[in-house]
Symmetry: D2
Subunit: 378 residues, 4 copies
């Protein structure tokens, strides 16, 4: 199968996320890095792109040049990944979509709900794909849970409990570390700290697995390290379409938790549990029965799950290949093949609406607020 051409904005030398995307895009041989504007420093970015095998005429000084350059080519890139600082996601993603490119945008897709709604409209008009990198949703066993819920294996969903709590920002003596501090500074991080950073992954997961959307919520935020303006711990209660009750705890001061992202889904006839630190298992309990340990790679899994696993049962697969699975599905979409359930622009928009709703609720003593973007409220 012909490789697809891939371009990247951001993710230059020294970035954490750049290598994850390059591994993800190239691991399965679907994409080849054909173009890039990798760095705010134009020369550095061009040199680095070439060191990664990009031809010199496609190693661009900035995203605008890349947009122009690629638009003019017959062999223009099939997909652009946007991995720049958060505040620039909207502008760049919008520009590439409008020029007819497929885009994978890092999270958060935008900084406001209004921008999110605009991207949904632009995407629709463009006829292109605008995916958002909620990559945890691409773990094989997360896809399996979604499939199990969709096919009714645990009945109507009553309750979903999702956590994303770690302790890596729990050291007050390290709170001025620039790598940490910006996340709690509204000038740089926006309206929310830990909820927007981590909690939103858990909220997306709740929707992704249940197939329900968050409709309203009540939030309790805390800055347990007092110097922080934004919250480092949050609890969000919510209600979903279909009446599902939701609970979501997120924290960055939970010392001892490493990557405490997990989800529990409880339906009328069974329960499911998955945790990101051991992503290759799902714990399934039919009502009145015993807990069963499901394993990635076991026989009888759904196509959604088995298609996204590369090695045999009980050979663990981890986070980088979950990112790769996003690219597997993007390649399928671009090639017009059957793809799985990719997180798309409307998910990015819903997340932003939930962030703003949580902030509004937390600022008003936990009052219940509508968590839907205006365009989806009717």
């Amino acid at each position: 199968m012909k490789k697809l051409n891939w371009g990247m904005v951001g993710g230059g030398e020294g970035s954490q996320i750049g290598p994850a995307h390059r591994l993800g895009a190239q691991a399965d041989g679907n994409f080849v890095l054909a173009a890039g504007a990798l760095d705010i420093d134009a020369e550095k970015g061009k040199a680095y792109a070439q060191s990664l095998g990009v031809a010199s005429d496609r190693a661009y000084a900035n995203w605008q040049e890349m947009l122009d350059g690629e638009s003019a080519r017959e062999d223009r890139v099939d997909l652009v990944t946007v991995a720049t600082p958060n505040s620039t996601h909207f502008e760049i993603t919008k520009a590439f979509l409008e020029a007819g490119f497929n885009v994978l945008c890092e999270k958060p897709m935008t900084m406001t709900v209004e921008e999110g709604e605009e991207l949904v409209r632009v995407t629709e008009k463009s006829g292109k794909v605008c995916a958002v990198n909620y990559c945890y949703s691409a773990y094989p066993m997360v896809r399996e849970m979604r499939q199990m819920v969709a096919s009714g294996q645990i009945g109507k969903i009553r309750l979903v409990v999702a956590n994303f709590s770690h302790g890596h920002h729990g050291d007050a003596t390290d709170a001025d570390n620039p790598r940490v501090r910006w996340r709690y500074d509204p000038v740089m991080a926006g309206v929310s700290g830990q909820f927007a950073d981590c909690g939103i992954h858990a909220m997306h997961m709740a929707s992704f697995v249940t197939g329900d959307e968050v409709e309203s919520l009540s939030a309790d935020f805390a800055s347990t390290i007092p110097s922080r303006e934004l919250e480092d711990d949050a609890m969000v209660n919510f209600r979903m379409s279909g009446g599902t009750v939701g609970r979501l705890w997120t924290s960055s001061v939970a010392i001892g938790r490493q990557h405490g992202f997990d989800i529990q889904v409880f339906g009328e006839t069974g329960g499911l549990r998955w945790a990101s630190e051991q992503p290759n298992q799902v714990y399934f309990t039919p009502v009145g029965g015993r807990m069963q340990i499901m394993e990635k790679g076991e026989s009888g899994l759904s196509d959604e799950a088995s298609r996204l696993s590369r090695v045999a049962i009980a050979h663990p697969e981890g986070f980088p290949l979950a990112v790769a699975n996003i690219y597997v599905d993007l390649a399928a979409v671009i090639r017009g093949q059957t793809a799985g359930a990719l997180p798309l622009a409307q998910d990015g928009l819903r997340s932003m609406a939930a962030v703003y709703a949580a902030v509004a609720s937390a600022n008003n003593a936990g009052e219940w607020v509508d968590a839907r973007p205006p365009m989806f409220q009717t």
Copy 2:
């Protein structure tokens, strides 16, 4: 050491809780069952008491007779355990306290806050012990956590997260089972279902381990099985004296969770985690360091913990011996020896106030309410 005389009200043949108390009281040879009014059916209760070794003149027809009979004896019982239906706890406990007996009352201590305040006053006046059976607090490693927090090993506490969620009432087809149904019926259970039944253990634990009291709370209740009038799932956010943030999730429809009672405590310099299904370990993480697995019986534990363990390291000890530990401490108190941190009448009162506060908050869209009993509000 001379054995203490022990009497029991309730806990007759076929009761679940009776055997747990008898094992608890007698396991360590501190108490001997000397008197009892074990059953609502007087003849059955007297016969059963005698089958357990109680002399015929101390096998009573009902608690009033027992109160009279024991009050008249020189060798009156040193301790009375009240293990009758919930709605009778207050009356019986009050009567025995007023007559000068020490009492261990099953939980809930009362059905209202007013009754709880009265018991606190009665206890104070009596000079006797009124303990409440929050027995999880008597696990050795729970005592160790309390000691660690008290001695500053994890610094000032920022956050406590406690859960008590199981799935044993998750089967809607079993919801009319009388063993289950009464818990969600206000006529029999009072104002709250799952929160009063299980969640309150988690809330007591949060106070017990941190040494802080719950001051205010906001609750979100749900009856995920619609036929239930009372909640089967609840989330409670709270604030404690000293500013600690609290999160508490309790559920009885979390299918797959067996006895999901656990607590996490996060301070400025470390974190702790304990779970009731594996009660002999505590997970301790110093800030910036590695998680360490602490084991019941390891060298260097506090006296609070080591005193309450009977067998060597890594020989598990379970729930019945946690109940027994309550009796170990009661024996010590009665004998005037050094005892550990027993849950007392004021804890029973605070629990009742928290239950009423949670109900009030849940009924008012999660508004924040004072969770303290009136007598402790000033």
Copy 3:
């Protein structure tokens, strides 16, 4: 039900095992401590017995006096527990059996195979019970495994793998500690160190769960701390009646393992796993299916398991109540009721034969030797 009279030899003040037996015998109200010769120091033993509630005329100076005294009484003890130093087990147990008492003997039952055979003969002649305290076999979920194997739920057994490895003797700088040293000194411990101390529990468990007897074995012993004459680490391969293959590893220098006693049983149609540190679960996997977590207290367990559990599902029960379960079954036997599968004199004998066989094999480069006592070889 009338309480049974119980007597104890050994287990005096300060002993570790005495309290475990007293808790075990009295926890369920079956036995009352009626007689005792608790200490090598006669006066101390008599005083301690009386402090535990034994009448002064039944607080004996030594076991011979107790034998005479109890033999002469109408209300003689129904059961004698022998918890003296290892080398005296044989003599005392034999004497009480011959005088018509039921006996529970601590492990090891004897110091030689010949003594073991004699006790089997004496027991048979006496018509009494001679039980040996392989108390791990009395955990409810161990009984459940035995029942599952017996009823064919995992088919014909192919393989059993049992380990009992800890690290509590791994500190060479502590090797001269008298509490540790005697175990590796043939003068005090006999022919074997760690295998006789811990490994033999694992070997008994292998037989207990599978219902097969060990027929032959090959052993590899090591003294990894060179000053030790006896082994502190051993691997034993064995073959059982019915052709089952066995593997057994035991160690006391496995630093980081606390109480690493577990067993895995693999049959034609399924596998089982149990570990003593989490004794309330069994992991069951049907061939071609998923691992299922079985819980003590779940519905549908065998009578063998459910009879020996005191509290509801997922309330953990630990080691002291496993000891208590031995007494539950002894009480049933003595009362002529249905009892479970108690470890008996022939098990004590088979263990001793296996110890001697392992030593012989290890001394001869692992040659395969018959592991059966002579009286069971034909």
Copy 4:
């Protein structure tokens, strides 16, 4: 950095191992697939190679053509991966080494000890790298353990216990499945079944982590499914240079174990444990201290470990990236940079010697035999 040219023999369409190597080689952008003889069916192999981006003149009909073709080029491949059926590894690897290519050979490197010795000699003479794909050794936390042992953090090693036991061949009704059967047929698998297939990974790991070589061993083999000529379960006791005691259990009938590959290392001052199903943690216990959970990505890890991790702490990384780590180190070696501890031809040879030794021992009632290849015996 310039990409290296990579060639592959075997691993054609439908092979399991081919994709793992392609992902491994290309994930980090070090290698580009430049040549290949991928299939025994020449036309299929050439077409498939081209579909993967290989130029038509470097898509070869068979390995001999590839050897000739690449030898003649200036831009010849920098590395050849041999992923053909086991019995052909020796011949192909030897030919490429002799022609001056670096080779990564799948395991087993050869079918006999003699062939293994020859490859060691050929490699030495060639001045090239001959690596063998013991890829578990390239997990970051395995490298960390090796480093910890080498730097003395757990003192002199006393004991290593390694298991590789699964249950995927435990279904006798599936024993004639060709995918399973060949492994137990000496015509296809050689002298050993499960030990050569899986156990040898555990034995390599024991040497890799401790830095000691296996010198002698005693084996007990069993064919628990009687139709199997070769063993499906084996226990191997061994002794290593430096006196370390070794224990190794491997099984394919351990129903319920998925990928039960783990290792425990016990030294004078501490113990380590690692398991392949959760490869991102190491459990470290200093003597007399608590078990600590070490995490991939934590600060302070050795360069060996941190160099081979791609994402932040607690983002799991799995098996495919362990294979990729072998390629990371191969790229470093080829570029003359500092590389980690790659498994090399002498490791492949030692493994083959151990397999033959185990078979000889098992055939002779477990007698202890020399496990070293003749060339390393002096």
